[in-house]
Amino acid sequence: MTGTIDRVGAAAAETSFLLNGRPVTIRVPPIRRLSEALREDLGLTGTKVGCNAGDCGACTVRIDGRQVCACLTPVGQVAGRHVQTVEGLAVEGPAIGGRGGHEARLTRLQASFHRHGAAQCGVCTPGMLMAATDLLERNPAPTRGEVEDALGGVLCRCTGYRKIVDAVMGAAEDGIAFLVPQAGAAVGARVAKTDGIAKLTGEERYGADAMPADALWLRAVRSPHARARFRLGDLAALRRAWPGLAAVLTAADVPVNRYGIYPTGKDQPALADGEVRYRGEAVLALVGDADTIESLTDADIPIEWEPLAPVTFEAARAGGAPVLHADLPDNVLVRGRVVKGAVDDTFAAAAAASVVEVETAFVEHAYIEPEAGWARRVGDRIEIVACTQTPYMDRDEIAHVMGLSREQVRIVPTAVGGGFGGKLDLSVQPLLAVAAWRLGRPVRWTYSRPESMAASTKRHPARIMARACAGSDGRLLGYDFAGDFNTGAYASWGPTVANRVPVHATGPYHVPHVRALTRALHTNDPPAGAFRGFGVPQAAIAHEALMDDLAAKLGMDPLEFRHLNALRAGEPTATGQVLEASCGLAACIAALREPWRAARAAAEAANRAGGAVRRGVGIGCMWYGIGNTSLSNPSSMRVGLRPDGRIVLYNGAVDIGQGSNTIMVQICADALGLPMDAFDLVTGDTDLTEDAGKTSASRQTFVSGNAAERAGRGLRAELLRRLNVGEDAALRLEAGCVHARDAGGERTLRLADLEPDARGDVLSAVGTFDPPTTALDEDGQGVPYATYGFAAQMAEIAVDLELGTVKVTRIVAAHDVGRAVNPIQVEGQIQGGIAQGLGLALMEEYVPGRTENLHDYLIPTFGDVPEIECILVEDREPLGPFGAKGIGEPALVPTAPAILNALHHATGVRITRAPATPDRVLAALRAAGVGVTP
């Protein structure tokens, strides 16, 4: 085979094949991954790359009808064959509205995904669709098991898989008609995502999908050591040896080389300066043409390392370890404290007391989309297009790092392929900004999977010691909690965890005497940051183990014990806050009562037969404060009316798959009194939208939703005023006019008669909301959150006593969400949260250097997430938009406790070290003498 030498020394050659039914010929090295050729050479970015190693299935395409990973297929192998990608799925059939108003076509399968809410962030969706298309062509009426087998090679981190199975099962159902609620009926409707179609056709643009053709590539050189000093060698020689290098950036090139979430915690360098504090920390950035950047290996980079003994979590806890940050001589980043009453006295007087120790590991977010984006300099401004959960904080942080004003920074968030807290920290942004600013050319960067895992933040490992006591009447009396959290090398969101945990430490119960103390400790581990629940899931393992144990000691049923102690409206929390309304835990627990009794009885009956497999049923409860802890976190939303009668929602709340692009429209539409389908969205561009804060702390529905409601009501008030009609007038849009009808008759406002503003809106309104909270005093007393979500979940499991494997067979989840603005999405959040909670309980453990990929780091697959029944308890929150609270994080919190409690029910053995991997479970069973010994 002859050809010119192309990238990375491989010879290019022509390969011809059919692509989505059309013949194509490309000239690239035939060893190039098909995924790369599709995306980079053929411009079809619908095929996603999550790992380049076969582990995630995001790149699944069909070759001659069969599903395969495009990332494992050399281009040369498709010669003469037919490659089908997501873009080639719907080539015929009726068109419906797609992105930006233009038309899209959907197959029945795609339409079913849309109806069922099977795509959340959507980054796994193309792979799911291709695998499912393969299945359905061979087997048009598959069983659920057959669907799981066929799609089992594609990972999803958002949905918990159940709705994907539903969608494939429902693909035979007719039609591409979707629910379009009438004016005033959007809130509470099971409406499909407003941004859903693009996620099904491959049109959606994620961080890596919209790179400019002329961009330079960037790659970071990262530390292989957890702690080391280093010296850079002759970089000028490196530049000479590699003429394709446009720049080699070092710490000296970063204008202000310290960033961090909190004003007091700006401790993280964009590029390490002489010393690295964790494995995976960036020390250099290489910028150049693609060939050069791909060919350069770490061995080519002149760096002299002097490895040092790393500070471990144990060493940091013990004290006296080497100091990571000079201003924190004991490596304690922050302490949290909530104290109420007289805890020690209570224990002395209690009828029953229990103690538990909990140990949890680093957990990786494992969003399927690795961090990616690009930047360019526009005059004296820098623009960054990247996946992020927090465009406004990014803007301010980049301004700080670059030494620019915030007006000089524009952040344009792309679609986000999963975040879960991991995209709240800066990733690609600072180095892209530095490179593009210096070079005056666009610069792009996509993390590899190992890089994403090594460099990004994690869930805090915890070491918890907790005890609780109750009186003979079964009422909780005291709770005493001490938790250390490994916050890793840099502050990140560590303070948030240390402050949130003590507030939630008791669990969702009324406890008169409380002491909850936390520390966030620096170590030479990866920075632990924000991850769905901010430390509360770890603390929940402790309180739920204690509740079970106390119930047993008092001879009470675990569910009834919790029901008795459930926090109720009018009772004070550990911080002295009295919730006046929307305190639906008792209702959640009551909703589980019947399934609980039936399942416990069935499990116990089955176990009487003996055998290697034991069944168990456990319960877990939770609460979660919505929004920031005692810190202002306002959101603003703008809604505008165009001369043609379209409504524009300027929505700065980034949708990371959880569905805020839909929720905000539902809420605003009902507040305004006009139908959802009259809305268009302008999303999260810091130049175009108002600041809606970050997508975290389960705050968008509650906080930004309130802003959307206020904006909608504001615009409605303005319309009513201009139309001179009463409050209860019904509005209608038609042919560029707003019509209003009330008792006084019908009136009309012709929008084209009004003067448009700079945005092109003839009328507009802005709504702002900041949840009412107070600062906490030195004992942690005050009002940290305006409202809380509550839940109770029940897990049924089967334990193999000989192998230590645990299979979760069913989960029933009752959640008080205030009001389910969109029940499909609430269920999706619950199911997805449960899948992550299941992973936390049974399989997920990030070990730096050892599990930096998706085959050594295991997240649940199709076959691991059981049937999940969602029960929505709607105890309206008077402060919430239409009564709504949040659901994003609450979903995950009770799952691991419920599973671990089920394990105890099944075997009598209490495991409080997560994850409960098969070897740990078996060792615990052996130690307790449970099961058969060989």
Binding site: M1, G9, N52, A53, T73, D149, G152
Partner: protein, 280 residues
């Protein structure tokens, strides 16, 4: 440097290998993940165009699995029950995408300690056919896999097929895989067993192998000898003792401790044998 060959004839492939070293690519499901962040600078021999290497079929007392036969093809081909074990393995390798591309021969040649196909191939007494421009040779799988990622294949050789001798009448096989999740999982341990029953309802010949409990999967000759002649019934599995697994040398890794592997292997072996005795 960096040439890509995709010949259509076996002879051309062998000539390429005779001309100098090249990385052989079949399904690519082991080759590509290993090259993450490390581009191909060497010559590549992609064998997927060679029709002669395709197919699975019985021929003269041997089952031939061509070098291009994928796990999916093995799972779907109409084959006798004595191949149930390796077919079960086929359905447990990765996900369907991997099964559609990955080959049985590639699994063997990659010589991972956790390769799911190898215990069954050992228990089936399979042989590897190796071709070079100098000719053909055949060696037993047990002699082919030398260590972690090391085989007896010479650089100029291509593995062209696996050959499995047809066992005696009534033969059956089983396979047990243990992983920490349902799909897409590297085995913590696995066991394969093949039984040729004697006419009197006792164990005629039985062959048992365990994988992921040492650098290479291993047969358990002491166990096989101990089981011979015992009645085929529900008690057979219970006769396996920890001492029968003494030849294994498991290690600690992220998937499990050595001690756990040893215990799990025992359970898997018992279950594999129980499956054999429960089959009609």
């Amino acid at each position: 440097m960096g040439r890509y060959h995709r010949p259509l004839a076996l002879a051309d492939a062998l000539a390429t290998l005779a001309g100098g070293p090249a990385t052989v690519v079949a399904g690519g499901t082991d080759v590509f993940p290993a090259r993450l962040g490390r581009p191909f600078a060497e010559d590549v021999l992609d064998i997927t165009g060679i029709t002669a290497l395709k197919g699975i079929g019985l021929d003269g007392g041997w089952l031939r699995i061509g070098a291009l036969a994928t796990w999916s093809e093995l799972a779907q081909a109409p084959l006798p029950p004595w191949l149930d074990g390796i077919r079960r393995a086929a359905r447990e390798v990765g996900g369907v995408q991997i099964q559609n591309a990955g080959t049985v021969v590639g699994n063997l040649c990659n010589a991972s300690p956790a390769a799911d196909g190898v215990p069954s191939l050992l228990a089936l007494d399979a042989e590897v056919e190796l071709a070079s421009s100098a000719g053909l040779r055949r060696i037993p799988v047990a002699e082919f896999v030398l260590g972690n990622r090391r085989t007896a294949r010479r650089p100029e050789e291509l593995a062209t097929a696996l050959l499995i001798p047809e066992p005696g009448p009534g033969a059956r096989s089983s396979f047990e895989k243990l992983g920490a999740r349902r799909y897409l999982v590297i085995s913590i341990a696995m066991a394969a067993a093949v039984l040729e029953p004697a006419a009197d309802g006792t164990v005629g010949r039985i062959r048992v192998a365990v994988g992921a409990c040492g650098p290479v999967a291993r047969r358990l000759p002491a166990l096989e000898a101990a089981l011979r002649g015992l009645p085929l019934g529900p008690d057979l599995a219970g006769t396996v003792t920890p001492a029968h697994l003494d030849g294994l040398s498991p290690i600690d890794d992220v998937r499990g401790t050595a001690e756990y592997r040893r215990e799990a292997a025992l359970v898997l072996v018992r279950r594999a044998i129980r499956t054999l005795t429960e089959q009609a």
